[in-house]
Every structure is written in structure tokens, then in C-alpha cells.
Symmetry: C2
Subunit: 167 residues, 2 copies
């Protein structure tokens, strides 16, 4: 009987050990998946967020709101405009935006083509059309590098050029 | 004596159990660090690799080698040249490069400013100067999106524009 008791104790411990090992291997499985969870960044969602930011951009151009436009850029952004040296920082970008609005641009159509990247940095490729009133004055292409600032995707680098020769 | 033997057996199992748990917690520690190892992508090394690729680019321009230049781009690259629609694919990029060489460009100076990204996608910001013989004909800025193809960083998106107005 004592042997049986000890046998039970031992069996119990073996079960406990088996449980510990199983539990360990389950933990291992969970933890192996951790980087997957980390990289479960959803590019489709991010793309939708970029599309939404682009809608805001278009609305601010239509409203002639250079402050609203500048706030869509990160504090340390660069606006790499064609025909001008790069403009650094939100304040200077606001001046550049003010200049563009004063030049008569009333509308920009941004058309996202694709996005790539991670939750830390997104690259967007797109096409854009510029309008003065109803007149399409330029067809261009662009690359925007987006970074999150205070939880919102903001333009970090913005470069574009014309599809037509200036000549 | 039998009791002692059983006691030893039980103690042994307890030790084994303790070892299993310790080993499990050590494993846990290792695995928690796994994403760190994964993200131990070295941006400084990547930057040096991009600088090396840029040197190759400059050498191919100097040699008037449009095939060499095109091979620095990914198979599915886009060359987003100022004053032209985007050119897609290595074959078309080779034609564009051939056109640039025939236009008289003998030298390009590429100056990397910064890189961002991961092992899957790098973004480079830089400045460039174009020369016809000894004459600096254009000062420009660029963004290149780099992707690895067959273990080598290649240009995936290449966009640039002039710092001077075309007027």
C-alpha cells in the first residue's frame, strides 16, 4: 500500500513534470509567435490610413489652408519640391504651401499607386494632378515617405516631378 | 531504506521538475529576445552597402554603360525621371539610361544624405550633380527606394528633381 502511495506520488510528479514540459512547449510556441504578432502590421489598414491622410491633404489645398497642410508633415519633414531646393521643417513647409496657394493652385488630385514598409516607415508611390480653377496645369508623379508622429501617419519626405518636359 | 530510496526518487523528480521550469524560463528569456535578434538589422552596414552601390552607379555613368546601370535596378523597378512619365522594368530603364548617356551626360555625383528602413526596404535621401564634361549642368535632390534582389540592394523606385527652376 505504501509502495502504491509512493508510486502515486511519483506518478503525480511525472504528470506534473509532463505538464510543466507541455506548458513550457506551449509557452515556447506562443513566444515564437511573438515576432509574428509584432510584424502583424497590416499594410492594407496602413494604406487606408494613407488614403485618408491624402484626402485631408486635398481638402486643405481646396481650402487654401497652409497651416493645415503643414500640420500633415512631421516636425522634421522635408518638402522636396521640383524647381526649388528642399524645404526643411514644418514652419518652412507652411511658407512653401502658402506660396503654392498664392501661385493660384486651387486643387490637387492625389492618386495612391502602392505602399510598402512597416509601422515605422511607409513609402507611398502615386500620381498627382494640379489644377488652377478647372484647368489641369500639371501631371506629376511622387514618392512620399510617411512616419508616425503622435500616432498619426505624417509626411516625412515628399518628392515629386512633372511627367512633361518643361521645354 | 525503501522510504529513503523513494524519497531520493521524489527529490530527484523535484530537481528534474525544477530544472525543467528553470530551463523553460531560460528558454522564455531567449525567445523574448528573438525579435531583437531579428531586428538586429544593421542600418550602418546597409548604408555602406548603398554607398557602394552608388559608387557602381557613378562608375557605370562614367563608362557610358546603360546595361550596367539597368542591372543596378530591380527587375520591377520604376525610374521616375523629371520631365518624363515613369519608366517601368529593367529593359525600359536601360533604354532611358542609354538616352541619358546619348544626351551627353558624362558624370553623376551621388551624395547620400540619410537612409531609413529595414532589411526588406530601404529609403535613401540624397543630392546629385550632373555633368557634361566638366560642366555642372544640374543640381538635384533624390529619393531612392532600395530592395534586395538576389542578396544585393537594387534601386526599386528612383525619383529626383532639380533645385533650380526650369525658367
Amino acid at each position: 500500500m505504501k509502495k502504491t502511495t509512493n508510486h502515486l506520488k511519483v506518478s503525480g510528479l511525472v504528470l506534473l513534470l509532463a505538464f510543466a514540459v507541455t506548458s513550457c512547449s506551449e509557452k515556447k510556441h506562443e513566444e515564437t509567435n511573438e515576432p509574428v504578432t509584432k510584424s502583424e502590421f497590416n499594410l492594407t489598414n496602413a494604406k487606408a490610413e494613407i488614403e485618408a491622410a491624402n484626402k485631408e491633404f486635398m481638402a486643405f489645398v481646396a481650402a487654401g489652408d497652409s497651416v493645415g497642410l503643414a500640420n500633415l508633415y512631421t516636425e522634421d519633414a522635408k518638402f522636396m519640391s521640383a524647381g526649388n531646393p528642399a524645404v526643411s521643417g514644418r514652419k518652412n513647409i507652411q511658407s512653401a504651401m502658402s506660396g503654392i496657394i498664392k501661385s493660384g493652385i486651387t486643387r490637387v488630385d492625389l492618386r495612391l499607386i502602392d505602399v510598402w514598409g512597416t509601422e515605422d516607415l511607409l513609402v507611398e508611390e502615386g500620381d498627382l494632378s494640379l489644377f488652377v480653377g478647372d484647368k489641369n496645369v500639371s501631371e506629376e508623379k511622387y514618392i512620399v515617405v510617411w512616419k508616425k508622429e503622435e500616432g498619426k501617419w505624417k509626411l516625412f519626405r515628399d518628392i515629386f516631378n512633372s511627367n512633361q518636359s518643361a521645354k
